[in-house]
């Protein structure tokens, strides 16, 4: 019985330690992206507005990029709803690229399409 309790204690302690490990890369959070905010222009090839995560696919000078927008609620409050953009539209993305150079994903803070701005993370927007 004592050894069983010891095992449970050790496992719980290890599990608790895991909580403090750095967050893994996903499209959630920002620590998978570069710190610097950059801009990128491209032509929209796909628009997806819906759960679990709204996104654009764009064709740029540096190839095909996936643009992660805000979550569905943030994307809606930015005013980016069905019909705001279509395939073939030009888009200017301001955001953070994946820190992994091989990964063509940019997380958008703001998108500009047809002279209209959609800001997904107003508090994170840096003007330079």
């Amino acid at each position: 019985m004592r050894s069983k309790n010891t095992a449970i204690t050790v496992i719980s302690a290890l599990a608790a330690l895991l909580l403090w490990l750095p967050e893994a890369a996903a499209h959630h959070g920002w620590n998978w992206t570069e710190d610097k905010q950059t801009e990128m222009t491209g032509t929209i090839t796909e628009v997806f507005i819906g759960p679990p995560h709204p996104r654009l696919m764009i064709e740029t000078d540096t190839g095909r990029w996936q643009v992660d927008l805000g979550n569905p609620r943030q994307t809606k409050s930015a005013g980016f709803v069905e019909g705001e953009a279509k395939t073939g539209d030009q888009v200017l993305i301001r955001g953070h690229r994946s820190a992994n150079k091989a990964e063509h994903i940019i997380k958008a803070v703001r998108a500009t399409i047809n002279n209209k701005q959609y800001t997904f993370y107003p508090e994170l927007l840096r003007e330079d």
């Binding site: 997806f48 507005i49 819906g50 759960p51 679990p52 569905p72 069905e82």
Partner: protein, 158 residues
């Protein structure tokens, strides 16, 4: 042809409602997790009992009970899974983790169909102890369902 059928799910009213609703998708996703919990919770318990790692309870009572709960969980998971899939079928059909998950589910269902037709399954229902083929099948089941959960979670990370 099957692909065309899958892709056409995106055009259904239900899929469209799920894409636009604020609460629809999270609710369906929650029900999907409930399905998984019932399914895998009961399967892991039964497999561990067959493998004699769990020693309590008689297999003749646990086996029919836990497989019924698992079947119910599976139905819920499939139903909600189709709804979640319908939101963007083309995206998921191009996702290697999703395709792996489907292949693994097929193997797991094949294992279920096989084991329920084995003499050793009827034997445990009649109160006999689990034999080697049944234990082997329980081990395969345990491995497959845990792999299915992992592949499922991986869909968001490829």
């Amino acid at each position: 042809m099957l692909t065309a059928l899958f892709l056409s799910l995106a055009d259904t009213a239900l899929a469209s409602a799920l894409r636009q609703s604020d609460i629809g998708y999270p609710l369906v996703a929650s029900a999907h997790i409930l399905g998984l919990a019932l399914l895998v919770g009961s399967i892991v318990t039964l497999d561990l009992r067959i493998l004699n790692i769990i020693k309590r309870g008689s297999l003749s009572e646990l086996a029919p009970l836990l497989s019924s709960v698992a079947a119910g969980g599976f139905m819920l998971a499939i139903l909600t899974g189709v709804l979640l899939f319908s939101v963007q079928p083309a995206h998921y059909l191009g996702n290697s983790a999703f395709l792996l998950k489907l292949a693994l589910i097929s193997l797991a269902l094949l294992n279920v169909a096989l084991v329920h037709n084995l003499a050793c399954w009827r034997a445990i229902l009649a109160g006999q102890p689990a034999t080697l083929p049944l234990k082997l099948s329980a081990f395969i089941s345990l491995t497959l369902w845990l792999a299915i959960i992992t592949a499922g979670r991986w869909i968001a990370f490829v």
